[in-house]
Subunit: 360 residues, 3 copies
């Protein structure tokens, strides 16, 4: 058995060595023929890609409006099959990806929760993943563990069936498609004001732990002359790593805990969930921070073109009555996620031309 153990620990070392690399060093590993094959990190997206994917999402959205366009879309990938492997339940992200697949005509298999997984029989994670890849052409993964999606892509990239792996949220850090759909929503909201370049955005709430605002802040380096306002209680301030990164890349930012003073200054307000740290399962408003709560009266403070965003689900961050204001775009933002994910899937299969050609 010694021989076996040695080999195993050697394999383990290889993964660990890879895992400990800087993100930048890992990126080529998730490419094939100079093109993104797996979507693992928000760091994989540069400005040309962001512009391209937003434009592709726009085309898909527009095509889907007519029956003829919708049928064209459904004939893009009817010969492909995707698996949605959602070990961590997330109805919202699951439905967004599932419907994105359906828009393009892909067939789907679902594994939701762990109870139905073959892991019960004591199979290794690597073998389970290889099994999934035996049947389908793409795997979309959501998992509570940091690094799980990365490992999935890493494992499959060493096999004969190197199918694309799409990160649907992996642990507390990585959720790259959320960052993409936020960018898409900002770009769309400002399409009559020359886009996101030059805009001021307030990010409000728990900036310390919120992976959404962290990823979105990171991507701001791709836009010219953006100003960020980090609005949070002292204990939830944005961490130093992101602030260092922004400083290095020349993205302006300001930190404050005065929510209302920032509102008139910005083009967008990105609200996020925030709750008292001791509160494990909060169920009343008193567990939340009333000073970081967007109320109806605040609609009078923001500019006429300023958009209000939220990654959802919300609890006490935005008053329900705000929903009816045209500047509240969080429901559109949710639907944008579906278009954006459809665009990303089309891109991973290299069929973007077939979508674009309809407009020539």
């Amino acid at each position: 058995m010694n021989n076996s153990r040695e080999t195993k620990s050697q394999t383990t070392m290889e993964w660990e060595a890879f895992y400990n690399l800087e993100v930048g060093e890992k990126l080529p590993f998730f490419q094939q023929n100079q093109r993104m094959l797996d979507v693992v990190f928000a760091q994989q997206f540069d400005r040309p890609f962001l512009d391209f994917i937003c434009s592709l999402a726009n085309q898909i959205r527009q095509l889907a409006r007519t029956k003829m366009g919708a049928e064209h879309l459904r004939n893009i990938l009817p010969h492909k099959r995707a698996m949605l492997y959602f070990v961590q339940p997330s109805t919202r992200t699951f439905l967004s990806f599932l419907n994105a697949c359906q828009i393009l005509g892909l067939n789907t298999s679902e594994i939701r929760g762990t109870t139905t997984s073959s892991e019960v029989k004591g199979e290794s994670q690597e073998d389970t993943i290889r099994t999934f890849s035996s049947y389908v052409d793409m795997i979309i993964v959501r998992h509570p563990e940091s690094g799980f999606v990365e490992k999935t892509a890493w494992v499959l990239n060493q096999t004969e069936r190197r199918v694309p792996v799409l990160n649907g949220g992996s642990g507390p850090d990585q959720h790259p498609t959320q960052a993409l759909l936020d960018i898409y929503t900002l770009e769309r909201s400002f399409e009559n004001q020359s886009g996101l370049d030059g805009k001021s955005i307030a990010m409000v709430g728990d900036l310390k732990r919120g992976r959404t605002v962290r990823s979105l802040s990171y991507l701001m380096q791709n836009y010219r002359d953006v100003t960020l306002y980090f609005v949070s209680p002292q204990e939830f301030r944005m961490k130093q790593d992101i602030k260092d990164h922004l400083a290095k890349k020349g993205v302006k930012f300001t930190e404050t805990d005065d929510f209302e003073s920032v509102l008139p200054l910005v083009d967008g307000v990105y609200m996020t969930r925030i709750q008292k740290e001791y509160s494990q399962a909060p169920d009343s408003e008193s567990d939340y921070y009333p000073d970081f709560f967007f109320r109806k009266e605040h609609l009078e403070l923001i500019q006429s073109h300023c958009v209000i965003m939220h990654p959802l689900p919300r609890r006490f961050e935005i008053e329900v009555d705000v929903d009816k204001d045209p500047r509240a775009v969080y429901w559109k933002q949710e639907r944008n996620g579906m278009w954006l994910r459809a665009a990303l899937i089309a891109y991973l299969f290299g069929v973007e031309e077939k979508i674009m050609e309809e407009f020539k």
Copy 2:
């Protein structure tokens, strides 16, 4: 926070005020351009609609017999996506709706049970519903709470994405598609005897709590010269509200607890589940009522054209050996539910002409 609480309770008031209206006053709210948009109550169906939907179900059933017809059907709604939101498990109704969607080519998303719902994260029901509507074009809901489906439709009808909502059973009262499929089965069974008009129907079992027989009795007002026999133990007699309604509409009915004496008189026997009230989880025949049990020997008592129906699942209401008699139509009734639901979905999307044109 006060401002917020006020607004919330105001919104709640609005829903409660609506909820307490008479059903008749609510109906216009579930229409769009003088056409049914949401299916919430059996009270939404009048005779022209019942005739139309039965005829549409017939066409679908006939088309589905050939490959060419089935492919025509699958090309009716391939550009639409439906969600099946089944908080209360019901395999039968779920499968019936799912296959109805597939017949018309709709793609489907499933939420079954509450564990996978985003409600875990403490989102409001209204937000969960809005999220679902972001991704799909129709929502089919089954829920243990009375009024839940009504509220779903009510919430969505105030948003920008007013997608149709279809009631798949909501609490102890509402299950309109069951009533429709029962009507469809009766009409089909009597198609060589000029339909349901003029027929006598026995309803047997727990008439007090059974939502199926209550809705079906209600719809009888749409047919001329129908006679109902309510056959039940004393403690499970039909409630006064339905009897008052029938009297007002001129539908004849008789009440009795003598099952066998009624059998020779009727054109249809509708059996329903009945069990002793103290019995929470009955598992033996002794918990049931032997005098309201259709046995093989009863086949000799009924007329040669009399049909035997049951909403299923059954336990001890109909002996298994009765199944082989051609007058036992409960398995056809079940399959009729699928055709009828497909017809209803086609109607809600306004594509009935595309189905009918195949026959011109």
Copy 3:
């Protein structure tokens, strides 16, 4: 009630009488027009059928390589709907069947686990099955009970909707599609050495309880001049029934517990799971048998064309480093299962000609 009880027990008798027949006597019952309608037992497959189904699987696999071929396949059965009724969870078999259906364009309904089944309401198994058959055109069943799938087919064959039933694993004995995919993998692996005829195969592990090796051994009677090596610890030797059968059919076999000595002699090594009997939930290598473990060093002992197979999932039967050797075909074997199952489904619907015609 007496009358009812009698009738019930009579029906029960009929099933029990049927169930106790010899397998050979049962086979005609699962046919329609001299053609297999239900797939219940491995004993239903003879050599012409095995050759045919392997050839059909090959065609499907080849067609699926191009978008045009894949679209041809998806137009084979788009007018049919299948149900996957998996009372016993098995992600692997489930995904294999689901994707096989999708390849041919079938729509699918899923019942996984028992909690969502209507059995909760106290319905009989027979009624549940009839309900499923009301909505779909084929039922694929996996169930922990021996004989359950057989009973499903038997029940439906006495109704008006006699839809095909496909055994996806029923109790400890029957898993006919696993046997088929093993045969397919052997035939494919030896396609340049005139196929499985004349080959020597080692079966290793728990031969006593393993249904996979039992079924595969049984099917060997269909091939000329095959030699089997049964390699196991004393306590897990192949049972007498199979050995008697092989002796009667003239299939040569040898029993041994010396794993390494057999390796140089064979054309294929079929590894299976084995664990110490006292060990209920083994989680370490020490619960396994190191002498029946295929390690990297064994690659030097086997012939250059010898294939290594495993039904998966594996734990400590094959070292992970063996995976990279081209003779390790267990991942291909898994994917072969999907092609083979697609072939079987096409056959059950009688559409094999439509697949084959593409190659004329």
